[in-house]
Every structure is written in structure tokens, then in C-alpha cells.
């Protein structure tokens, strides 16, 4: 699997390269600024771009903007955005094109390399992985929109785990229920959110987007 890494701090960039190489990923490019990132993403067309939100030249959200610009040119280009902090605002912007293949994680999730590489694979496959901190805030919030408010507590739990990018198997393990039960809950969620039957991955992305927007 080919990966482009964008991280301006040398130590972290080399750390990521070493970690991902050790797990058998192929590093197509490792860049340190937003313009380089955009160029690398468009030319290399990696399976996943791993992007730091804050990059030169302005050291604000240049990385995020470059990732969004690349996805505007190559729809659905999988991007995993890393940051020292997570904002629902940015998560919504990343998911807004409804194309999937989006990850948004805190940088310290890298510590857990199994979960991290699993997240990279989920994103590469077109799934959505949101940081538990973003999802956690969604859980504490009183829903304001009708469709999401109609979900049962259990369905909301399942939806939250979906937003974190977990598969039905993982959700079943986490909630100590059968995989079949998870599928049933998922079907219930899709129905209540008025998501027409299409391929499962896309419906998951739309469900998460509805959840974020609620």
C-alpha cells in the first residue's frame, strides 16, 4: 500500500516513516509543506495520504486545506488527517463531499500501532474513521435534528462506533452482542436516517455525516 506523508516536524515525520515502513507500507513521499503535499497527492495518487493539519507556509490549517483541494481534484482520494487537537468543524468539512475515504485522528493515536494501521486500511478502503474524541462530543450532545433524535440509545452507540471506523465484527465484540444484532441495528439506523439501500460503506459514511450534522 502506497502512502504519502505530510508532517513538518522532522522527528515526527521520520517516526511515521519508520513506523509505517515497519508495518509493510510503501512510503511514496514524505513532505514538509502544504504545496509539496498537494503536488505529491495529485502526482503520486497514493492509496492513502497521511496529513498533518498544521503545515507551512502559514502554520494554520494548510494541511487540511491541501487535503481538501486534492480531494476536489481527485474525488474520494483517501486522506487520513492527523492533528494535535480535533474539531468537529474540520470533521464535517472533511466528510462534506460524502465520498468517504476520510480519517481524522489525534496524533497520539499513533501510539497504538495496531489500531492506527487498521485505521489507515479502513480509510484506504473508502471507510470513515473519526477520532473517539470527536465522537465522544457527539454522544454528550442533545440531538437537535429529528432523524438522529429518533435513534435508540443502542443504535446511537452502534453509530458512534461506526463513526470511529469500526467494522461490524469489531462493534459486536465491543458491545458484547452478535454480529447479526449489529447488522440489524445498522439497518435500523439506515432506515431511520432515510438512507436508500446502496453499498454498505457509502451508507455508513452518510450515516456518520448525518450524525455529525445533527
Amino acid at each position: 500500500m502506497r502512502i504519502v506523508i505530510a508532517e513538518d516536524l522532522f522527528l515526527l515525520r521520520e517516526g511515521l516513516v519508520r513506523l509505517l515502513s515497519a508495518h509493510g507500507f510503501e512510503i511514496a513521499a514524505a513532505v514538509a509543506s502544504a504545496p509539496e503535499l498537494l503536488e505529491a497527492l495529485v502526482e503520486q495518487r497514493p492509496d492513502v495520504g497521511i496529513v498533518d493539519v498544521r503545515l507551512p507556509p502559514t502554520h494554520t490549517d494548510d494541511g487540511l486545506r491541501a487535503a481538501l483541494a486534492a480531494r476536489a481534484r481527485i474525488p474520494g482520494l483517501p486522506v487520513l488527517v492527523l492533528s494535535q487537537y480535533v474539531e468537529q468543524l474540520y470533521a464535517r468539512e472533511l466528510l462534506a463531499d460524502q465520498a468517504g475515504g476520510v480519517g481524522y485522528l489525534l496524533k497520539d493515536r499513533v501510539f497504538n500501532d495496531e489500531a492506527f494501521t487498521a485505521a489507515i486500511r479502513t480509510v484506504a478502503a473508502g471507510g470513515t474513521v473519526l477520532d473517539p474524541e470527536v465522537v465522544g462530543k457527539l454522544m454528550t450532545r442533545r440531538s437537535r435534528d429529528e432523524p438522529v433524535a429518533r435513534l435508540t440509545p443502542r443504535e446511537r452507540e452502534v453509530l458512534a462506533l461506526m463513526a470511529e471506523g469500526r467494522s461490524n465484527v469489531a462493534i459486536a465484540q465491543r458491545l458484547f452482542i452478535s454480529e447479526k444484532a449489529v447488522s440489524k441495528h445498522a439497518a435500523g439506523i439506515f432506515a431511520k436516517l432515510d438512507l436508500a439501500p446502496s453499498d454498505d460503506d457509502n451508507r455508513r459514511v452518510l450515516a456518520v455525516l448525518a450524525y455529525l450534522g445533527s
Partner: protein, 540 residues
């Protein structure tokens, strides 16, 4: 004997009042507590005593007045305290009247509290001095106790102080008073119609009218008061010399401190000359200043107003600067403590876990692995704490995206539904943006925590200011309004939250307005003068 009692009563009461003033806290029991609650009212005793003595002290007047005073002090301490200044002023007025009767020759001896005027004494001067002291004390008490009438005195004083323009000082204008006094002495009603021809009330009314006119002139126009004073000084001074040179061809009346009318010898003539010289000197000193003032351009009122505005501004800035420095220092202390107890401590724990793991690897790799996992956990916690700390110092989204998006992020993170109405055509400079962001965040948190609101509406907008700004801002007004449907009852004076917001905003000349009736809804308006810069352009 009676005066000694008045004196002792006065000293005693003042001593008790001072004891009372010096102590805070709950009132003690017993006599001392009793005296403390009576306070200034106790001064009514000596005042009543003095008044009774002045009135002759006959027919049981002293016990009667003292009895009434005691009753007032016991049953209406507030009223008693309010009567004291009027009493003192009344006694002072009475002293002046006594001096006048003595000078008119109505009485040969006058006793006024502790002093007297009569043969062998210094004339009426001790009486007038004592009356002056009583007048000053009465005036001070009037202001100190804030009784009715104090407002008028204060307003007059403020008006007086406010009229410090035009280059004529207060002292120069006040010279009108001795000039009028001397003029009345020379040309007063007694001299027009012959001594004794017009006297008593008529003369007093004329004197009072002239004195009032002089005072009104002084307060209305300092410059014109000084002008009249200068002219008067020159004329009266010359007149003094005329008396000294040509007496008795020039009719010699009382002139200042010399009294030729009642003297058959020209020996006091030199005092007339001396007094005339002094007046001439003062007149020659004052006249050019007054003329310069009248010939000069009228004061630039706009400039004066501007100077006053600047003075007020400097006062505000001095105060807010202290507040800001204070707040900043407290904030730094908090950050230091958070780092010390949080992230730093966790990193120490990480180091210790790794150190222990290193030692355990050869012997028990499993235990070592558990320690490494612990170290990872500690470093995650340290990062989480640093994240929270950074958010508290300066939210990254504010740095990345500016105020509008930071408020949007804030609304998304809020646990209750937030309706947004944001209209910011440009960027707000960072310090102001930060202050407004944290203010809105605090108000939003209050709505959720204290007011138990079910929904909140945040409006954020900017009005370009027409006609240029004042001293601050100049580019318009940034306005944030947070409306919630909670219980209401928010008060910036209660609790530290809204007061903190106010302090934060004041540093930028911003204001916080809270309308929160019990039962709600609460509307909080934040306004900060500031200009918008052009919107940030994307770097990509």
C-alpha cells in the same frame, strides 16, 4: 463653666466617633456598641448645649434643649446626625450676627462660645475666627454625612473646579471678595445715608444682596470677577493714597484696618497709605493678567474638550492596564501550575516507567511490557492535558480560522443546540478575537450550566462606524449577542464568570451588557470597538 461642658462634650463625642470609625466588623455589646450605632448623632449634644447657652440659657432652656437632643439621639439617630451640620452652620451664622451687633455698637460686650468681644479684647476678630471655624466644621460635616444640601455644595464646588479655563485662576477671581468687602465698608449704606440713618435689617439686606451678586459673578464667570476685582483694587488703592495725602479734605471713613472716622488725629494715616499701596500692587499685578486674558483668543473649546477626554482616557487606561497585567500574571501562574502538576509530572512518570522496564527486560519481559504500556498511557494523558491547556490559552481553531469559525466550532462542541447567525465580512485582529471568543465561550457555558437553557442563539456581526471613531477602535464595532431560553437571573456583580468576561473586554474598551430577568430569557451583548481586516486568503 457652661462652655467648658460644651468643650468636654465635643471632645468626648469626637473621640467616640473616631473609635467607631476605626473599627469594622460587628458592633460590640454594651456601652461602646451603643455609642457606635449612635455615631455622629452624638455631636448634637454639644451643638444643642451651645445653642441653648447662646440663647441666654435662661428659664430651663438648657435642660429642655439637651433633653430634646438626647431624645433625638436615642429614638432617631439618623435624624440627629443630620441635624448636627445645620446646627454648626447656624451657630457660625449666629457668631457673625453677634460680631455685627458689637461693631454696630448695639452691645458693649459679646460672649460667643469660648471667646468674647469687648473693651480690651481684639475687637470682633476672635468671634469671627471662631465663627469661621464652626462654618468650616459645619460644611465638612454637611459633606461628610451627606445630608440634604450637600449635593448643592458639591455641585457648586464641581462647577467651580470645572471652570478652570481661560487662564484666570481661582485665587485671582476670589480677590473680588475682599474688594467688595472694602468697597462696602467705604461706600456701604451706612456711609451713604450717614451712620445710624440706615441700619439693622435694611443694611444687612443690602450687604447680603451685594455679597450674593459678587459670589454669583465669581461662579458664573471667573474672568469677569477677576476683571472687576482688578479695577476695584486699583481704584480703592488710589483712594487709600488720596486719604493719606489729603485728609481731611478727602472724607476719611473706615478704610480697611484704619478708622479715621472715629479718630481726630492723623496718626493712622500711614496705615491708609500702606493698605493703599498693597491694594495698588495687587491691582497692578492682576490687571495685566486680566487684560491679557480678554485680549487673547477665546479658548479653543474643542481643544479643552479634547484635553478632558484625554485625561479621562488616561485614567481608564491606567486602571485597565493594572487589571490586564494582573489578569495576565494570574493566568501565567495558572498555566505554570497546570504544567507542573499535569504534563510535567506525567512525563516524569513516563521516564520512570521506561527506566523500570529497562531494568526488568532481562528478567521478566512481561512485567517490562506492562510498564511500557503504562508509559504509553501516561504520555497519552500528558498530551490530553496539554491539549486542554492549549485550548484554554489560545484555541487552535481560532489561530487557524479566525473568530467566525472558532465560534462555529464552539457551537458544534456545545452540548445544547446552538443557532448561529454570523456575519463577519473580514478578520478580527487576534487579541480582540481571543477576548470575544473566550467571552462567548463563558456566556455559553453559563447558559448551559446555570440557566439550564434548552437552546442558545449566537449572533456575531460587525458595524462599520460612520464618521470616524473616538480614541479607541475607530474602525467600527464588533458585536456578539448570546440569547438563551434558560431561567435568567444572571448578574455580573455575582460570581466571577461574567465579571471575568467584563475585565477581559475592558482591556479593549469593550463592554458587556446583561439583560437577565428572573425566569429568563437571558440576553448577553458583547461589544468591542475594532476594525476588520480583509478576509484571510487560502494558501493553497
Amino acid at each position: 463653666m457652661l462652655f467648658a461642658i460644651v468643650l468636654l462634650l465635643t471632645i468626648g463625642c469626637i473621640a467616640f466617633i473616631l473609635v467607631r470609625e476605626g473599627q469594622g466588623g460587628p458592633r460590640p455589646n454594651g456601652l461602646r456598641g451603643y455609642i457606635r450605632t449612635r455615631g455622629w448623632g452624638l455631636l448634637l449634644l454639644p451643638v444643642a448645649m451651645a445653642a441653648a447657652v447662646m440663647a441666654g440659657g435662661a428659664h430651663g432652656l438648657i435642660p429642655a434643649e439637651l433633653g430634646i437632643a438626647v431624645l433625638a439621639i436615642v429614638f432617631a439617630p439618623r435624624l440627629a446626625a443630620k441635624l448636627v451640620p445645620y446646627g454648626a452652620l447656624g451657630l457660625a451664622f449666629f457668631g457673625v450676627m453677634l460680631a455685627k451687633t458689637y461693631r454696630d455698637g448695639s452691645t458693649s460686650k459679646v460672649q460667643y462660645l469660648f471667646v468674647h468681644a469687648g473693651p480690651g479684647a481684639w475687637g470682633t476678630r476672635p468671634v469671627l475666627a471662631e465663627a469661621g471655624v464652626l462654618f468650616a466644621v459645619g460644611l465638612w460635616l454637611l459633606l461628610r454625612l451627606d445630608v440634604p444640601g450637600a449635593g448643592v455644595v458639591r455641585a457648586l464646588a464641581a462647577r467651580w473646579l470645572d471652570r478652570r479655563r481661560g487662564g484666570i485662576s481661582a485665587v485671582q477671581a476670589l480677590l473680588l471678595i475682599p474688594v467688595v468687602g472694602l468697597a462696602m465698608q467705604l461706600l456701604g449704606p451706612g456711609n451713604w445715608f450717614g451712620i445710624g440713618a440706615i441700619d439693622g435689617l435694611d443694611a444687612a439686606v443690602i450687604d447680603l444682596a451685594v455679597a450674593t451678586a459678587a459670589l454669583v459673578l465669581i461662579f458664573r464667570s471667573r474672568a469677569w470677577a477677576a476683571t472687576v476685582a482688578a479695577a476695584g483694587l486699583l481704584v480703592l488703592g488710589a483712594y487709600g493714597w488720596l486719604i493719606a495725602a489729603f485728609w481731611p479734605a478727602v472724607p476719611g471713613f473706615e478704610y480697611g484696618f484704619s478708622d479715621l472716622a472715629n479718630s481726630s488725629t492723623p496718626t493712622p494715616l500711614w496705615t491708609d497709605a500702606l493698605e493703599g499701596s498693597l491694594l495698588l500692587a495687587l491691582g497692578l499685578w492682576l490687571a495685566p493678567r486680566v487684560m491679557r486674558h480678554h485680549l487673547a483668543d477665546p479658548p479653543d473649546l474643542e481643544l479643552v474638550a479634547r484635553a478632558q477626554q484625554l485625561t479621562r482616557r488616561v485614567q481608564t487606561l491606567t486602571k485597565t492596564r493594572y487589571d490586564v497585567v494582573d489578569t495576565a500574571a494570574a493566568e501565567l501562574r495558572r498555566i505554570e501550575r497546570d504544567l507542573h502538576d499535569g504534563a510535567q509530572a506525567r512525563l516524569v512518570a513516563v521516564g520512570m516507567s521506561l527506566q523500570a522496564a529497562e531494568r526488568l527486560f532481562p528478567t521478566s519481559p512481561e512485567a517490562a511490557l506492562a510498564l511500557v504500556a503504562e508509559a504509553k498511557e501516561s504520555s497519552s494523558r500528558a498530551l490530553a492535558e496539554l491539549r486542554a491547556l492549549v485550548r484554554g490559552i489560545y484555541p487552535p481553531v481560532l489561530a487557524d480560522r479566525g473568530l467566525a469559525d472558532a465560534i462555529r466550532a464552539l457551537a458544534l462542541d456545545a452540548p445544547l443546540p446552538v443557532e448561529l447567525d454570523i456575519d463577519l465580512p473580514g478578520e478580527v485582529e487576534l487579541p480582540v478575537a481571543s477576548a470575544v471568543y473566550f467571552s462567548v465561550a463563558e456566556v455559553l457555558a453559563n447558559a448551559e450550566k446555570h440557566a439550564r437553557a434548552r437552546s442558545v442563539r449566537i449572533q456575531l456581526g460587525h458595524t462599520p462606524l460612520a464618521g470616524g471613531g473616538g480614541l479607541a477602535g475607530g474602525g467600527g464595532m464588533l458585536r456578539a449577542q448570546v440569547t438563551d431560553d434558560g431561567w435568567g437571573g444572571a448578574d455580573p456583580a455575582q460570581g466571577t464568570g461574567l465579571a471575568g468576561v467584563e475585565r477581559r473586554l475592558v482591556a479593549f474598551d469593550g463592554i458587556l451588557a446583561v439583560n437577565s430577568p428572573p425566569g429568563g430569557p437571558t440576553i448577553v451583548v458583547i461589544e468591542v470597538p475594532c476594525a476588520l481586516s480583509s478576509p484571510k486568503t487560502s494558501s493553497c
